[in-house]
């Protein structure tokens, strides 16, 4: 009996130990700051940090548990278990304190444009989108797993090479668009004078390579549900499969005043968006092919068409502002650096970043920024079909059976898995900071969350600033970011 009781106690302690280990929450000035070469924040900080560490660790509080949860183990498997399993399973599953250190190390090496490449069984790396570091001329093959499906994508960013991934928008609002409220909506959205161009005859073939044609589920989820042609692999302006590849101008002509195609009849908007696209006694809304259709209940004809993707110039079109300056907002420059006019280059206009082929002057990619592009009720391009949430947010925002979470510049979006429509903005992100870079002038204001102010407060030796889930340490003299001292999301 005694042996039995002792064995139970030992087993329980083994389970509990990781929870009270709390590798990154107890530090304060005496924790990670020192570990990473940063100075302390004075006596008060050390006292406060130490007390906090003890209190939270021993109490098994929420913070402690969150950190412990980030311990080793394969993330995807953990998420699956988390969805299906109970809390006890989570406690057993998680453990270890190495993850935080790994994350910090990684973060120090990479920049904001983090994309997680999944190579094989759980191996990940951060692709670096910065200038330099072999940004140009690199070819990347990514294979992304989501559940039991695989999404393959080949992206060639080589000099003079082509991008195999096409994720852009073929719709735009004309400036004279009208949408007069829900009960009197009238939409005139498209400029029919737009011209599409296909640069060479091989383009379709290359796009087809990007798509995993053997993935039947991919077909069901995307192509058959009516995502815009350019998102699922059709060259811009060319119809592979009508109506999935109808250009915007033709879409208006084809759909407004026509009956709603049967394949859209069941495409009701996700519940979370029905306060935006809500049905009335006179109208109801359906979606498909990148548009919201307002259907008149009287004659069952489409009376209005509203693009679900942000406005802008499309891939394959000539960039109309040739010779313009860089203009990319400073918070996005690390994502889309200035290459001058060398091969592919980036330009900003009307809320969009355009990647332009240096030889032809044609647009190769369109990246809407949060402030003008994506928003609730809009659609993320299929290029965001894989889980790409930054590491520090992965425990907070993980895919569920109902929703996906996707990172695009400016935010983490909650996306309805069925329709691929954005149903919420989970978190707003700035351009971010990274170790070694100068502190942007706009971060001169102390902004550490209240909960951490007794630990991380400005001193003559160190400043502390919050950005995108991390608290950073800054050298006041050089204004350089010297360390990530805590992850707090």
């Amino acid at each position: 009996m005694r042996k039995l009781i002792l064995a139970a106690g030992v087993a329980a302690l083994a389970i509990t130990a990781p929870a009270s280990a709390k590798p990154d929450k107890g530090g304060g000035h005496g924790g990670h700051a020192q570990a990473q070469g940063g100075g302390g924040g004075g006596q008060k900080a050390e006292r406060g940090g130490g007390q906090k560490a003890e209190r939270r660790g021993g109490g098994g509080g929420q913070q402690a548990q969150r950190v412990e949860r980030r311990g080793g183990g394969e993330r995807r498997a953990a998420q699956k278990e988390r969805r299906g399993g109970g809390p006890a399973q989570r406690m057993e599953r998680r453990g270890g304190g190495e993850r935080q250190a790994q994350r910090i190390e990684r973060h120090g090496q990479e920049r904001q444009a983090q994309r997680v490449d999944r190579r094989g069984a759980g191996e990940r790396r951060f692709a670096n989108f910065q200038s330099g570091n072999g940004r140009k001329g690199q070819q990347r093959v990514e294979k992304h797993s989501r559940g039991d499906r695989d999404f393959a994508r080949v992206e060639n960013r080589g000099r003079g090479g082509e991008r195999h991934e096409i994720r852009n928008h073929e719709q735009r609002f004309a400036s004279h668009d009208q949408f007069r409220g829900r009960n009197d909506a009238r939409v005139r959205n498209f400029d029919d004078a737009r011209q599409f161009a296909v640069r060479d005859s091989d383009e379709f073939r290359r796009v087809a390579e990007w798509r995993d044609w053997n993935d039947g589920d991919w077909d069901r989820r995307f192509a058959n549900r009516g995502l815009p042609a350019s998102f699922v692999g059709c060259p811009p302006g060319l119809a592979k499969k009508s109506p999935a590849c109808v250009p915007p101008g033709l879409a208006r002509n084809a759909f407004v005043g026509a009956a709603l195609p049967n394949y859209y009849a069941s495409n009701s908007f996700p519940v979370g968006l029905r306060d935006i696209y809500y049905d009335t006694d006179d109208y109801y809304y359906r979606w498909g092919d990148g548009y919201a259709y307002r259907v008149d209940r009287g004659d069952q004809l489409i009376s209005a068409l509203l693009p679900l993707v942000g406005a802008g110039l499309g891939v394959g079109m000539p960039f109309p502002y040739q010779g313009s300056s860089y203009y990319v907002p400073s918070s996005y420059q690390s994502f889309y650096p200035d290459y001058g006019y060398d091969d592919d280059y980036y330009r900003y206009a009307n809320g969009y970043v355009y990647e332009i082929d240096g030889n032809s002057g044609y647009i190769e990619d369109v990246i809407p920024l949060l402030d003008r592009g994506y928003g609730v009720g809009q659609m993320l391009p299929a290029g965001y079909s894989y889980y790409n949430v930054p590491y520090q947010y992965r425990d907070a925002y993980y895919d569920t059976d109902d929703y996906s979470y996707r990172y695009a510049p400016g935010a983490i979006y909650q996306v309805d898995r069925d329709s691929q429509l954005i149903t919420g903005i989970a978190s707003l992100l700035t351009g971010g900071l990274s170790v070694g870079q100068p502190l942007p002038p706009a971060y001169g204001v102390y902004n550490v969350p209240i909960s951490y102010r007794d630990t991380y407060y400005d001193t003559p030796d160190n400043w502390y600033r919050y950005s995108n889930g991390y608290i950073y340490q800054v050298d006041p003299t050089t204004q350089l970011i010297t360390a990530i001292v805590r992850s707090i999301v």
């Binding site: 009781i5 002792l6 106690g9 329980a12 302690l13 389970i15 509990t16 009270s20 906090k52 098994g60 913070q63 969150r66 109970g86 809390p87 006890a88 989570r90 668009d177 949408f179 409220g181 935006i276 942000g310 860089y326 203009y327 990319v328 907002p329 918070s331 420059q333 001058g340 900003y348 920024l369 402030d371 994506y374 928003g375 009720g377 425990d395 907070a396 925002y397 569920t400 400016g410 149903t423 919420g424 903005i425 989970a426 978190s427 707003l428 992100l429 700035t430 002038p441 706009a442 001169g444 204001v445 102390y446 902004n447 550490v448 209240i450 909960s451 007794d454 919050y466 995108n468 889930g469």
Partner: protein, 195 residues
């Protein structure tokens, strides 16, 4: 003896049970804050504390930012008083229209700052910056903070000014500062670099 053994065995089991009662905090769960923070900031999120009938709250809901402000990430929200909405045009006038959503998001995110910024913090930054300080917004653009008669004034790229008239309302995921005017993002981002 057996009682002592039982106590030793039961203690870690109790710890396990306590740990299991915690939620995992993912996907929009209530923010995880240390206990002492709760005393300062209360248990209400910014979204929960906003007056649901206020124009700002309605606009935030229309833009889908209400869920953002109910999450765990820390923000400072500059909330214009309802009177400031009296003369607005465009997206803020009809926030419910789907067509206005992107522009609405653009305007509202200019009123959201990363992290927790108290009035005192802005004041110190202005003093350190010899009268003015740049302030990062979630829109990507910056505001300029200055002082006027002891109050902090924020100016956007177009020159619109908003004075913090009441604030430092601490919430579990940040702080709310009330301003007397609406700030407007610039139509185009200023040229960051010229070639």
């Amino acid at each position: 003896m057996s009682f002592r053994l039982l106590a030793v065995a039961a203690m870690p089991l109790a710890l396990v049970a306590a740990g299991c009662n915690q939620s995992d905090g993912g996907n929009g769960a209530a923010p995880n804050q240390p206990a002492e923070a709760g005393k300062d900031a209360g248990d209400q999120t910014i979204a929960a504390a906003l007056d649901k009938n206020s124009r700002f709250a309605q606009a935030a809901k229309a833009a889908g930012l209400d869920s953002t402000l109910a999450g765990s990430d820390p923000y400072t929200v500059l909330v214009p008083r309802d009177e400031a909405f009296a003369k607005v045009e465009g997206a803020l006038k009809d926030p419910a229209s789907p067509q206005n959503r992107a522009e609405l998001t653009r305007i509202l995110t200019l009123h959201i700052l990363p992290g927790t910024v108290l009035i005192e913090d802005l004041g110190k930054a202005v003093d350190n910056g010899k009268g003015k300080a740049l302030v990062q917004t979630m829109n990507g653009q910056t505001l300029t903070a200055t002082k006027d008669g002891g109050k902090v004034v924020l100016t956007d790229a177009s020159g619109n000014k908003a004075t913090i008239i009441e604030g430092d309302q601490k919430r579990s995921n940040g702080v709310v500062q009330y301003v007397d005017a609406i700030l407007t993002p610039s139509a185009e981002a200023p040229p960051a670099r010229q070639q």
